[in-house]
Symmetry: C2
Subunit: 141 residues, 2 copies
Amino acid sequence: MRVGQLAARTGLTTKTIRFYESAGVLPAPARRPSGYRDYDEGAVDRLAFVKAAQAAGLSLAEIREIITVRASSGAPCQHVLTLLDSHAADLDRRIAELTALRADVKRLRSRAGTLDPATCDPTTVCQVIPADGVARPVPTL
Amino acid sequence: MRVGQLAARTGLTTKTIRFYESAGVLPAPARRPSGYRDYDEGAVDRLAFVKAAQAAGLSLAEIREIITVRASSGAPCQHVLTLLDSHAADLDRRIAELTALRADVKRLRSRAGTLDPATCDPTTVCQVIPADGVARPVPTL
DNA sequence: CTTGACCTTCCAGCGCAGTGGAAGCCCTAG
DNA sequence: CTAGGGCTTCCACTGCGCTGGAAGGTCAAG
């Protein structure tokens, strides 16, 4: 099938499919004499895998890694488990950071109700956000 | 003071300070005859505000907004409150997404222990990540 | 006078996952 | 023959907050 039909069947755009090929997560397909890409059913499975892996939070680089391991040394199970563990740990960290940030923001917000706009000094721009209010490093949003 | 000393006093780099000027969150300072930037104490306060606002999760664009409002129409309290509220709501959403993703990842991880590597089919790349496993859209990490 | 630290400007690139557009070829229907 | 829809390639751009480097001016110490 041509790229348009593959796009229709996977819900991706033709742009994205060609981009995935260049990103190394979809093998370059056969070509018709015209130069058109000619995909087999395997491409549908492959794109389903890419989508699932993305939904699990893996980057295209990590997905490419998995595919490479699979192709060169068989089942990439251990590799994938390590990835999932490290992502779960990332998520734990990120969630903790965001939760702390949310607490800070809500604290600022509720403190704001007790402030008198008249006491607001232009040099500090806005007293709702005090210079010593949140000394935390900015988490990756 | 010159940019290097301002950098030393704020813990930023000279690059970052000049970048902040171009981003509109730090006013252009006076210049010495040599062309060197010459900052006053206000710059230290301003950078402290920028840091605090960043730590509260505001982007440079939002910080610039606040500064503009402050300069043109006095205390930007209401504007800032709206921003904080909307950020808190964003954080709620993001945390919920990440928490759901984490649950998915951990589910995949624990399910993986029950799988036999021998049943792993190359067309699906890796059975640890099943095509129908996580149908969730990818949240912004 | 020279060295070296400091400063100036401007341009480029990072990471990430695409998206947009231009110029041009292929194929079929009318 | 022409219109159109699909396909090809390539290059540029998005957002965000910087960071790196090149080419050159300034200034104080030795």
